[in-house]
Symmetry: C2
Subunit: 191 residues, 2 copies
């Protein structure tokens, strides 16, 4: 992806996190990115395509900041899930935009296919981590990877909302989330 396009998407995500999807004005995104509105339309065609592209960008960003490699499958799984909540402005902005776009898809059906495919990708990624843990013996083989992936990703979204609304601090949200994941995906004896 070109730097220019990335900068425009970053500006769009920041605007969505600031004003919400329905309040989003292409002119404000342009001002934030220090370009003309025409350039945004040139890159993204229309407002709807801009929103879908911003949503995909949000998904890619989350993939990047939750990346972990070290440890058993179960350790990586826990670290990846808990890192959806971080005391970091970029993470907070990204999560706010995700929640906004997801909930806007209740009203704006053009966003639904992208929400569905990103959620499916997220569930698949979690299922893959569970299978890795089952292969290395750190996760109980009776757990169904895909079902648990759906459950864990929904739980992350629930705690994320508590965090973004300020009902839980970052530490509280991370600790509650880690405790829930630990109960749902218990360590195998001796692992």
């Amino acid at each position: 992806m070109s730097d220019r396009r990335t900068a425009l998407l970053t500006a769009a995500v920041q605007e969505i996190a600031r004003t919400g999807t329905r309040g989003l004005r292409v002119e404000e995104v342009a001002k934030r990115a220090n370009v003309s509105p025409a350039l945004i339309y040139h890159h993204f065609g229309d407002r709807s395509t801009l929103l879908q592209s911003a949503l995909e960008h949000v998904g890619d960003q989350a993939d990047a900041y939750t990346s972990h490699n070290e440890g058993t499958g179960r350790e990586v799984l826990l670290a990846v899930l808990v890192d959806e909540i971080q005391d970091d402005d970029a993470v907070r902005t990204n999560s706010t935009a995700w929640g906004e776009l997801r909930d806007s898809s209740i009203f704006d059906v053009t966003l639904r296919p992208t929400i569905e495919s990103l959620t499916a990708r997220w569930v698949d990624d979690i299922a893959e981590l569970i299978r890795t843990g089952q292969d290395d013996g750190s996760i109980d083989p009776s757990i169904m990877p895909h079902e648990m992936g759906m459950c864990l990703s929904a739980i992350v979204e629930g705690f994320s909302a508590r965090w973004l609304t300020g009902i839980l601090t970052t530490d509280q949200a991370r600790n509650h989330l880690a405790a829930a994941v630990s109960l749902l995906v218990p360590a195998t004896p001796g692992s």
Copy 2:
């Protein structure tokens, strides 16, 4: 609460579920309730107070349609939580409005105290059900009621979003939610 006031709040909740909080126009609420906008201002003072009152109404409605009495503490807990998701237009409307108002509170700080106190009440209610289950022997006494209440209510919100966006059907969302709750609050042996 007077019938008139209830009718106005029902109209407000329906409008929030249709257009979102930020798109809410008092004139549209008035039209839906077949009254004048002046009457809405007379009852609620301003738009902000109307939103807060609508939010409280959403909380009261959820209390009503999730009410259960029969069975062990654990059975009642499961039924109450799963009934946050029902194939019923009024429940869907109520949940959509709750998600909207909750997420608007990220941007609109005037909604935060009400979101916080309703969430705290919800967590307390779940904790009370857990204590009932611990007293009647159906729930493990080592579970911490308040912490688990925070966790379970967040999980309900996560699955509710999946359901409202159409990623999960009503049955899928209820089944996934029941499975997660069963794992987090396992039956005590012999109960």
